[in-house]
């Protein structure tokens, strides 16, 4: 079923699409993280907005990916922007929830100690709250990344899709090998991201390991 000559012949395509897959994922999670951070800052200064914000992100999260792309196409056409708006939308709920939970879990003692030492609001956030919230933030990034790697495939419908494009091409030309290559590489990428970010989560928070051990 697997034809190695097909794989050899399509190596440049597979490599390029793997790169595209990574780029689409990184941009989506990066922009998602930035927007989530802004949203969380807004929510912290106006706690009443927490409900409407998470409600809206939950609404976005529930809309099927093909439908969200379809909503955008009449306005932003088949473009990188269309793909990214959809991909970023799905990261927001996960990232905002984990950011909020991480910041809420910061012990009151740590906040009071920082205040007593005369830390400004910004310095306290940057040097005390964010480092202590890091385990949950990295966990959010991990879930968002694995989810995005899967969703990138659907953007093949608007001309991108990374490895989804490899599968789609295999599907259109009845080329089983390409279908399989696209599938295996995507699953491998998702598993690698899951393991890699899980490892990163432990590395950036040595104290949690010390406590557990």
């Amino acid at each position: 079923m697997i034809r190695w000559d097909v794989i050899r012949g399509n190596l440049p395509l597979i490599g390029a699409k793997l790169g595209e897959h990574l780029a689409l994922t990184l941009v989506a999670v990066g922009v998602g993280l930035l927007l989530s951070f802004v949203a969380v800052l807004v929510i912290r200064s106006r706690p009443r907005l927490a409900g409407p914000f998470t409600g809206f992100f939950g609404f976005l999260y529930t809309i099927p990916s093909l439908a969200l792309l379809a909503f955008l196409v009449p306005f932003t056409r088949l473009s990188f922007l269309t793909s990214e708006i959809a991909l970023v939308s799905y990261t927001l709920l996960i990232l905002v929830r984990n950011l909020l939970a991480g910041l809420e879990a910061v012990p009151l003692d740590a906040l009071e100690a920082a205040d007593a030492m005369g830390y400004s609001r910004l310095r306290r956030l940057w040097q005390v709250e964010l480092p202590l919230a890091l385990p949950l933030i990295v966990a959010g990034i991990r879930i968002a990344t694995v989810t995005t790697i899967g969703l990138v495939m659907v953007t093949a419908m608007v001309g991108f899709g990374g490895l989804g494009q490899v599968m789609l091409r295999g599907y259109n030309f009845r080329n089983d090998t390409l279908v399989l290559v696209g599938f295996v590489l995507t699953v491998a990428l998702a598993l690698a991201a899951d393991l890699g970010l899980g490892w990163l989560g432990r590395v950036v928070t040595p104290w949690s390991r010390a406590r557990a051990g």
Partner: protein, 236 residues
């Protein structure tokens, strides 16, 4: 805003409400297809989850299913079956069933494992058989979690049944796929609205059911598949 005018025209055109490509037929296909897939997923995942949760054996299987279920994209799964099973309903259905299984399995196992051990011991002390303990003590305690898994599963299946239009031909996804092919924005948008409404409606309905069960059992559901915010995905 011509697009809104086009959209209203599309929805009020009687031709779009009749025949084999009409909204009622496509909606019916989508719903029947999704219900069938979720029912089959329940038929596999619920007994397996009850057995694993109760005996505590084969937990590795549940962990593996959970990990794979999160790593395998729905779109990839749909297309994967086409070379083997051909185009159509027959290759879309197994993909949807496989997608529906992990959330139900994971939450059933977690729900059963989360039952108060004292209640289980009390059941055994009253002379219940293992099966009675499972059905009369553990299952009621696990119901909110199971419903939470069912909700995720159903929403995922309804969403992916949209993509199934690519390989199976039917359902509301048809409007989006055709709209893309024919470059008709009104059709694309109409399909997107119908699909989004169906997915949001499914989510609402199951959330409502989950609240009812939570209310009855007096505690919130432990959604192990989709925790609110967590330091990582749980082991199973």
């Amino acid at each position: 805003m011509t697009i809104i005018r086009d959209l209203i025209a599309w929805f009020t055109d009687p031709a779009h409400w009749a025949g084999s490509n009409g909204i009622p037929v496509r909606l019916g296909e989508h719903v029947v297809f999704s219900v069938l897939a979720v029912a089959l997923a329940v038929a596999v995942a619920l007994p397996a989850g009850l057995a694993i949760g109760h005996t505590g054996r084969w937990e590795r299987i549940a962990t593996a299913v959970a990990g794979l279920g999160r790593a395998v994209p729905s779109y990839a799964l749909l297309i994967l079956f086409v070379p083997v099973l051909g185009l159509g309903f027959s290759s879309a259905l197994p993909a949807l069933v496989l997608l529906g299984i992990p959330p139900i399995l994971v939450n059933t196992v977690a729900g059963i494992r989360g039952t108060d051990p004292e209640a289980v011991d009390a059941g055994r002390g009253m002379g219940m058989t293992e099966f009675e303990v499972l059905v009369e003590v553990e299952l009621p305690a696990a119901l909110p979690a199971i419903i939470a898994g069912l909700r995720t599963s159903a929403v995922q299946v309804v969403a992916t049944a949209t993509l199934a239009a690519l390989v199976a031909g039917g359902g509301l996804g048809r409007y989006i796929v055709d709209g893309f092919a024919l470059r008709q924005d009104d059709r694309i948008l109409a399909g997107a609205i119908l699909v989004a409404l169906l997915a949001l409606g499914t989510e609402r309905a199951f959330t409502w059911a989950q609240r009812r069960f939570e209310h009855r059992s007096g505690r919130p559901a432990v959604d192990a598949w989709r925790p609110a915010a967590s330091a990582g995905w749980p082991g199973f």
